[in-house]
Assembly symmetry: C2
Homo-oligomer: 444 residues x 2
């Protein structure tokens, strides 16, 4: 097949750009760093939100919706928070043709506005834990942007909770990290993640502790895929989130916040993609199987439609590609680019033999399968693909992690992957020194 | 039960406000006319989006995501559109601490920015129809606001499509009106809707024709629940959406747009609610059945949990209310307020008799049912509630629609419901005269 993408080995960032454009995932928007997510890209996000939302609800968290615009004064109430976010804010100053009395920030994150309402809703220990989440858009002013990975506007979920005690809040932060984020990333996205604590320098503005899930991309660089923050009593004090405890005394709550975003689409692309395009794990894939006609004829069309209906009835996510007016070769390249795990190719010759060709994107295999056995072959190919993507990603990570003893060795090792070293041998000073070589201490 | 709400007959707008507050559906946000949708309200919206999204996808439409911020210059390209929306726009003028070179409008609707991208993506008749939708937030500056019904920020879906011909676009506009909007409103929301064409005065800014679905609220006033616009070639010309036709010639596309919003939550409340609160049709209800313990004991708890598990396994949307530390009476009032169609009350006495009490919110009935027959009783109660809500709404509309022959009669009749009259007897002049009495010509 012709190379439609810059090979990864030649220029990884350009390969990434090419995939995003050629697979029609996203484009730049008109405002600085904004993005248009096209249907193929958005379908990935819809599947991510469905899987994540179910896991979030399993923790007892409920969805809500808070306003886009936050009065500037709210930000000022928590000193570390305003310092961290003020430089990134987009500001609304006019409405209805007039200047507003108070400037309104487009939310870069919603701790402040949600804190304001939590304070109203929390009165007694009976109201706790209060577990909220919202799926929404946020904006941060960014100078250098890359589609999905760093954009001024992005889609995300942000969870915000209040608990009775430090222990409850701490446990919930970790529950989100492990049972929601890591579980989704490993079992659906097939990306092994490292879980750990960020250093003080990398912590969320206003947090006591930030836990993160990082995955290793195929260029040997780590990508932060999700974060879960212990906010201690800082926001509860700034917004006066108080409750009457079982002992009858007033106390401030303990809050957490946690988020994952459309950046995960970038992680999916760079964690599994190859020189032919995306490779989407079947557990995520919006299209698990594409049933394609090779050449147009009434018989082929009818047989393809029948296969499509059968696989769909089996509960699979299936696409029917019977666009006879577009050359098969072009459509096959497109299917590789978009990373559909399995294609079923059906032409007049296959049909004459009572067969179809089952192609696995990940295994790179092609096999003729009797029409009556397609369902089994597809199920096996999907299971195999999910496993192989996981095995490859895990093998890659193991091959790219080295144990080092000094910061200099770590900087060297970070050229091609992870360096694992004792924090004692690094420390805050070592972290700053590594930072000069664009190496960050990812997780403790 | 004590009156927790202002009765509808006393003051309908206050009743509405009371329901929204007491059922914990929503609250005012800090910025003018913004709103916080609380979990109970948001769960209604989640069910609405799920049902609508499935219907939208059935038309072949795909979801995408376009930016929140639209350059001011885009608005200026379609004259009627800018005139209609300019006064309502919220404007971003600063980002990253600096003034922006071009002001950016928070989208009040996205015809312009989506038109810009459609022009890139449409080249040939093979690219048509292009059927896109997005679920997002929009903002319009409003002076007088009411939660859900008229808010400065609201959540909605906006569909945007391009077609080869006037006929295709026209047919699609109607398909959305009937198969998506009216079908959802009638079969899920149990609200009979009138479908028709808006007069020129009430038309969407820039549209050739606006079709709408209106439902009658229990105060005798009509509420617009959804609109579907034929945009002709106006936006296609303003944004240069051109394609090469089958005949090899370049032509402008024909576009449509259509939307429904969180205002439907207001329609649900006012279309079915009564003096005890919401009445949610089972086909929509996020909670179809609430299994409640009357008094706390280990046996009652265990039996309630068992019922909950069984009903959930049957595919019902069930809530378990085993909050033994809150008085049963308070919880029952809350269940009425939130409009759960069916409650199952389980106390020690019920349990001793091997029974539970099944309460229907809509029918107002209570019956003791043997534990082994709960599933059947619940299924019957749910079906009955859906039907009764529809019958009541339809009966109410019929009782509140009168045929009139003159504008004066229409103004009189509109005090309590719909007036049906021939357009010949009204006309543009009559519409203006009726408008002086705050009566609008809803649909032709
Ligand atoms: Zn305080
Ligand atoms: Zn043109």
């Amino acid at each position: 097949m012709a190379n439609v993408l810059t090979p990864q080995g030649e220029d990884f960032p350009r390969w990434y750009q090419d995939v995003v454009a050629k697979a029609q995932l996203a484009e730049n928007g008109p405002a600085r760093g904004s993005q248009v997510i096209r249907p193929t890209g958005f379908a990935l996000w819809e599947r991510m939100t469905a899987e994540m939302d179910a896991r979030i609800k399993d923790t007892g968290t409920e969805n809500a919706s808070f306003p886009l615009l936050i009065p500037e004064s709210y930000f000022r109430r928590e000193a570390d928070h305003v310092e961290g976010f003020a430089p990134e804010v987009w500001m609304v100053t006019q409405g209805g043709g007039k200047d507003l009395e108070e400037k309104l920030a487009i939310r870069p994150t919603s701790e402040t506005i949600i804190g304001e309402y939590m304070a109203k809703w929390v009165n007694s220990y009976r109201d706790l834990p209060l577990l909220l989440n919202q799926w929404c858009n946020v904006m941060r002013y960014e100078m250098r942007t890359r589609l999905f990975l760093r954009s001024s506007e992005f889609l995300w979920q942000e969870g915000h909770t209040v608990h009775e005690s430090y222990e409850d809040a701490h446990a919930f932060t970790l529950r989100i990290l492990h049972d929601v984020y890591a579980d989704f990333m490993e079992n659906v996205l097939a990306l092994p993640v490292l879980r750990g604590i960020k250093t003080e320098a990398e912590r969320f503005a206003g947090a006591l502790n930030t836990f993160a899930c990082d995955a290793l991309m195929r260029d040997g660089k780590a990508l932060q895929m999700g974060t879960s923050h212990e906010l201690g009593q800082k926001f509860a004090k700034a917004f006066d989130i108080q409750f009457q405890g079982k002992d009858g005394k007033q106390a401030h709550g303990w809050t957490t916040s946690w988020g994952t975003s459309t950046r995960m689409i970038g992680g999916l692309i760079m964690g599994h993609g190859d020189d032919a395009g995306l490779r989407v794990p079947p557990n995520l894939a919006p299209v698990q199987v594409s049933v394609m006609i090779v050449k147009d004829s009434d018989e082929v069309r009818a047989a393809a439609r029948k296969l499509y209906d059968e696989l769909k009835a089996d509960g699979l996510r299936v696409k029917l590609d019977d666009r006879g007016d577009i050359a098969f070769g072009r459509r096959a390249v497109d299917a590789e680019l978009k990373g559909y795990p399995v294609r079923i190719e059906l032409g007049p010759r296959d049909l004459k033999n009572g067969e179809a060709t089952v192609v696995s994107r990940v295994e790179g295999s092609k096999q003729s399968v009797p029409l009556g056995m397609i369902a089994e072959a597809v199920a096996a190919a999907l299971a195999g693909a999910q496993q192989q993507l996981w095995d490859e990603a895990l093998g890659f990570r193991e091959a790219h992690t080295v144990d080092v003893a000094s910061v200099d060795e770590a900087v060297e090792a970070a050229r091609t992957g992870y360096a694992r070293m004792p924090w004692d041998a690094c420390g805050v000073e070592g972290e700053a020194r590594a930072g000069q070589s664009a190496v960050t201490v990812r997780l403790l």
